[in-house]
Amino acid sequence: MDARTANPPPAAGRTLHRFANPGRFLRISGRVLPVMAVLGLGLTLTGFVWGLFFAPADWQQGDAVRIMYVHVPSAWLASFGYLSLAICSVLSLVWRHPLADLAAAEIGPVGAAFTALCLATGSIWGKPMWGAWWVWDARLTSVLVLFFLYLGHVALVRAFDDPQRGYRAGAILALIGVVNLPIIKFSVDWWNTLHQPATIKFTGSPTMYVGMLWPLLLCALGFTFGFAAIVLARTRAAVMERRIRGLLMARAQEADAR
């Protein structure tokens, strides 16, 4: 009896590693990707049209409230993107899952872009509503920290000649940065902020008019599918690029051996 049969990997590890096979990942993601892309585009466009032309204006903010249909989904995605980065980091550090490393490296830039979009649209809304492009409010500052965490992850993953070291350093940074997520979420409750408190909560009914809530939820769903589709497409490309590098290196070694 060999060592592998005598000590099989734990059940969770076995299930996770079934999806570490690049061929299987490319096959499954190839089927899922078009569905995600179509859902992302369709839901986002529907939400945008609904939010821009059919949802009512706010009695205080006027039509500037329509910026919310871009700002809020990008803010949610900034946090959820970082959470997925942290999950990939756990998979990488605990189970050494090779696809988790690639996925984490691809989530970083997309998450940074969505966080930048959240900050920029918040700023665009803030100018006419607060009279300032930026205030050092707890919510805004913690989201800015999230943006820097994303940038740090992107830089760290690419900072080493040995990619494995980069992935490991990035994973550690991603896990340390998770502490910022509850700070972002509860900053409006813990501190006296200019940013308004949450209007949609897990624990209670939303305080938002339903005619504004539906387009917002459509946009949030569309952004989520769009984010997932972009990350999946980038991860597919990264898997193929790694296979290309492996094949070219094997050929070079064969040529050297002759």
């Binding site: 006027g62 990008s74 969505f114 920029a120 665009i124 193929m240």
Partner: protein
């Protein structure tokens, strides 16, 4: 519509970010698929 410039700027940025990342991901995927097919004939079957 009030604050039209601000609204257009916000939606324009969203469309720009979405388009840039989607096109980049699609182009990168196509490039990798072509290169892989060129050096590994088995890739065409997968």
């Amino acid at each position: 519509m009030t604050h039209l410039t601000y609204i257009m700027a916000a939606y324009g940025l969203a469309v720009l970010v979405g388009t840039v990342f989607s096109v980049d991901a699609w182009a990168r995927m196509s490039r990798a698929r072509r290169r892989l097919a060129a050096i590994d004939p088995r890739a065409n079957r997968g």
